[in-house]
């Protein structure tokens, strides 16, 4: 990753195992970290993370590229390089998006395929942004990003027909909103983009806000935590600066800019006293030595020098260094999105979906559990035995809804019906979920248990999503671990 001491060219094969710090030193470091974190909670500059979501081509990456430039995270040289490069392949309209769409295929196709992680500095916030793909085939990656965020920016395309395409059934505007809400995000900023395409029409802007508001409320976003802002990402209107007097937007919009809204986002409460949980979302070669993993600290504090367990498995690794977007950190607390360089470990034992834990406080492994779920707007009802994909952080595994336990009242949670035959749309229910292993001929896919915790123990480790046939059919929280 950029910034992992790229200029240090120590040979790869000499990886001295990092000396493990004595427990007392670790405890001391954790205490220091806690004190600093508490001080930061009341400080000037607070940090949080935000996932950028919305239907394909809404302008998410363009907006983020433009913001990075306006806020000084992308220099002029880089901007010119992106402009030239994209023009050369006949994709100049994606010049801003190139900053985030880094892979060859993304650039060729003009489509974001996986999460890009960047950091934005606003006057009072340090915001980790996770730019998500809008294409429906890459929702697994979007989920991986959303599960690492505490707030969301929804980008919608104001152009006639485009907003509608994203908002109708099967469009990602709806699915993304439901997904981020189900993953615990409660505050959302809606950027109504491409207003240049609709002659800066106020009535179109109002129309879109009015269509979205009821859906947002219905999906569980409180109106006070939902903000709307009119923008045009390509031209950079109303992102970090209010619309200039010459802009038609100036005549009817006097509200906050996008950056004003970002600057007022509420940072999450951090559970730094919980046992350490670090679900891995990416594994790659460290720039200098060792192997690096990225992810979000979902409880506790991670410090260099400690030997951590990798769950599942019997392996452990020593934390060599921690960094965030290139800046090396003395430690990282719950809620931070960081890269962790590990040594003394065979890369084979590190997988996306594994969780780093402290010895003696490891996360449980399960292959079946009960959950309380909300059924989404589905057409085909859920039967006992429905084959699904279970999503938990950055991992998705084949599973089945092995038992329909009861249908619950959505408002008070009381049981309406036991052992229902099917679950239909918008129901709330308690179900049993089991990981699936296939038993037909050939090497059986081992249904390896996955690390999971009840929601009552660790909220971030206890949320699940359920998909079938490329559609999210339900979301919920883990109640009880069975086997």
């Amino acid at each position: 990753m950029a910034g992992l001491n790229l200029n240090d060219d120590a040979p790869m094969d000499v990886i001295p195992e990092e000396p493990v710090k004595p427990p007392a030193a670790i405890e001391k470091l954790i205490e220091e970290a806690k004190a600093t974190l508490i001080a930061q909670e009341n400080g000037e500059k607070r940090s949080l993370s935000m996932v950028v979501v919305g239907h394909v081509d809404a302008g998410k990456s363009t907006m983020m590229g433009r913001l990075l430039y306006e806020l000084g995270r992308m220099d002029e040289k880089k901007r010119v390089a992106n402009e030239r490069g994209s023009a050369k392949v006949g994709k100049s309209s994606f010049s801003w998006a190139w900053e985030l769409d880094g892979t060859q295929e993304e650039r060729e196709r003009g489509i974001t395929m996986d999460i890009a992680l960047q950091t934005l500095n606003t006057p009072h916030r340090v915001i980790t942004i996770l730019d998500a793909p809008g294409h429906r085939d890459f929702i697994p990656n979007m989920i991986s990003g959303a599960s690492q965020a505490d707030s969301a920016l929804l980008v919608v395309d104001a152009a006639v027909g485009e907003f509608e395409a994203g908002f109708e059934r099967g469009g990602q505007t709806r699915e993304h909103l439901l997904l981020v809400r189900s993953l615990g995000v409660t505050q959302v900023i809606v950027a109504v983009n491409k207003l240049d395409q609709v002659e800066w029409s106020k009535s179109r802007y109002d129309e879109i806000c009015n269509l979205l508001k009821p859906f947002l409320a219905q999906s569980g976003f409180h109106p006070t935590k939902t903000q709307f802002v009119p923008v045009a990402a390509m031209e950079g209107i109303n992102l970090s600066q209010p619309p200039p007097a010459a802009s038609p937007l100036h005549s009817w919009y006097k509200g906050p800019t996008l950056v004003d809204l970002l600057d007022a986002l509420e940072p999450p409460t951090r559970d730094i006293n919980a046992p350490l949980r670090f679900p891995i979302s990416n594994v790659f070669k460290g720039a200098t030595s060792g192997i690096a993993v990225s992810g979000r600290v979902c409880g506790g504090i991670i410090v260099p020098g400690e030997r951590l367990r990798i769950v599942p498995g019997d392996e452990s690794a020593v934390v060599k260094a921690i960094d965030s977007d290139g800046d090396s950190l003395p430690w990282a607390g719950a809620g931070s999105n960081v890269n962790v360089t590990l040594t003394g470990v065979d890369p084979i034992s590190l997988n996306v979906g594994s969780v780093l834990c402290r010895e003696g406080q490891t996360v449980p492994l399960v292959s079946s559990f009960t959950a309380k779920i909300i059924v989404f707007d589905i057409q085909i009802p859920i039967t006992a035995g429905t084959s699904v994909e279970l999503f938990h952080h950055s991992r998705d595994v084949p599973a089945s809804i092995s038992r329909l336990i009861s249908v619950l009242d959505r408002s008070n949670g009381s049981v309406i019906k036991n052992k229902p035959r099917v679950l239909t749309k918008n129901m709330s229910a308690e179900v049993e979920v089991s990981l699936r292993s296939s038993t037909y001929s050939g090497p059986a896919s081992r249904a390896l248990p996955i690390p999971l915790e009840p929601f009552s123990v660790n909220k971030e480790m206890g949320r699940i999503l359920i998909r079938r046939g490329g559609e999210t059919i339900g979301a919920g929280v883990v109640l009880e671990l069975l086997t």
Binding site: M1, A116, D396, S438, Y440, G442, P443, G470
Partner: protein, 424 residues
């Protein structure tokens, strides 16, 4: 499978002798042989001879044994390279792995070497005759249909399928009754890291290279019985995979592979997991070409059931008890039933399901027995193994209530009769 001999009495007792040839035949045998049958097949047994001088001489001999079956077990073929990563993906050729059926029980016919009642376990061998004898009622319509189906000469179409995602590929071979997972390939591909993408691209390049090696090793692309090679994936991985395979074929002048070009079918699926096979096989590209194959029919039928569940819940029933009720009322238009249900060790249970099948057929309904060796069959198994599409809507709860009332009525009547008898 070759049918050697068949002799069935009117009462459903009798014997059938067949000669299994491949894995699929083993699967048929596993489904045909039930507890309580007598099976005669070649076996190997250790024999001890005590000579006149008292020395014990032990040797293994080949002989034919007839066993009273106490247990039948199935082990699917264990293809090599279960989880081969970049390191071991390219090593070694595939040994011929095959499925086995193990039959154990007591020896039921005295033999010069083995005493009656001695316990024995034998592996059914390919290309050797096996004789299955059942008691009265044993050769029911479902068993006979399977004998017939399995002995149709000529192998059915085979299809190879590769379900892939970025860094994962599952190689499968589908025949009429079974899906064999040949290999699960996993090559770690680092995910994109902001604006430095070379690690991702290098990982992908390694993945395609490994995938190609596995392809050559596992997919019998030049075999005439291989009808199609399906590449299924979300996103655009399938295009990249296909292009890579074809580019390598040209580069290495692999004529056979180049001529197989038109066997390839690229299909979009929603997930890179093996259960996407069902989705791939019911896609229009494939269903139109292979609608007569068992796996395509199973996939389409399961789909039809779920669609009915969505449009008219009262016409889509599942679960043994509910389906039996629907059958009683002559409401079943299409019955979906898994072969697993007929393998019950309890004869009465099997009889019940055979009864439902016969009943539905007799009333003009359609019956499809799913193979548990296909993903569609596995999904039906999860759904209790039995489901039905009804010809007219019926409310499960109303029917259950009616049944309950009828039962109570019956009991009341019996009780009254009982009182009447006592009183008289």
């Amino acid at each position: 499978m070759k049918l050697i001999n068949k002799h069935i009495e009117k009462d459903g007792s009798g014997h059938v002798t067949v000669c299994p040839e491949d894995d699929e035949d083993m699967w048929h045998l596993y489904n045909l042989i039930q507890e309580g049958d007598r099976v005669r097949a070649p076996a190997i047994r250790r024999i001890q001879n005590v000579s006149t001088t008292g020395t014990v001489d032990s040797r293994r001999i080949r002989l034919h044994l007839t066993l009273a079956v106490a247990r039948v077990t199935w082990s699917p073929s264990a293809a090599p390279g279960a989880d081969s990563g970049a390191a071991n993906g390219a090593a070694g050729a595939a040994p011929a792995a095959s499925a086995t059926v193990e039959v154990s029980g007591r020896v039921a016919e005295e033999n010069q070497h083995v005493k009656l009642g001695a316990f024995h376990t034998l592996d059914i061998e390919a290309n050797k005759n096996v004789r299955i004898e059942k008691d009265a009622g044993g050769w029911d319509s479902v068993a006979l249909a399977r004998v017939e189906e399995s002995c149709v000469p000529g192998r059915g179409a085979e299809v190879a399928a590769i379900v892939c995602g970025e860094g994962t590929a599952i190689f499968c071979l589908l025949s009429e009754h079974m899906t064999v997972v040949l290999q699960r390939l996993e090559v770690p591909v680092p995910r994109k890291i902001s604006n430095q993408s070379s690690a991702h691209e290098k990982g992908l390049a390694r993945f395609y290279q490994n995938l190609y090696t596995s392809f050559l090793r596992h997919v019998p692309y030049s075999s005439p019985s291989l009808r199609a090679i399906v590449i299924a994936s979300p996103g655009w991985v399938r295009d990249a995979v296909f292009d890579f395979i074809m580019a390598e074929a040209s580069r290495t002048s692999n004529k056979a592979l180049l001529t197989a070009r038109n066997k390839f079918i690229k299909v979009h699926v929603n997930s890179p997991h093996v259960h996407s096979l069902v989705e791939a096989l019911k896609s229009p590209e494939i269903a139109s070409q292979m609608k007569e194959t068992k796996f395509a029919r199973e996939g389409l039928m399961l789909d039809k059931f779920f669609k009915m569940l969505a449009s008219d819940e009262m016409r889509a029933w599942y679960g043994p008890d509910h389906v039996a009720l629907a059958a009683d009322r002559g409401a079943i238009g299409t019955l979906l039933i898994s072969d697993e249900l007929f393998r019950s060790s309890d004869a009465a249970t099997r009889k019940k399901f055979v009864g439902i099948v016969e009943d539905v057929k007799q009333k003009g309904g359609e019956v499809l027995i799913f193979s548990s060796m296909h993903e569609s069959g596995q999904q039906l198994n999860q759904l209790t193994g039995i489901a039905a599409i009804l010809t007219f809507p019926l409310d499960v709860e109303v029917v259950e209530a009616e049944e309950r009332e009828a039962r109570e009525e019956e009991e009341r009547r019996k009780a009254e009769e009982g009182e009447a008898v006592e009183a008289s």
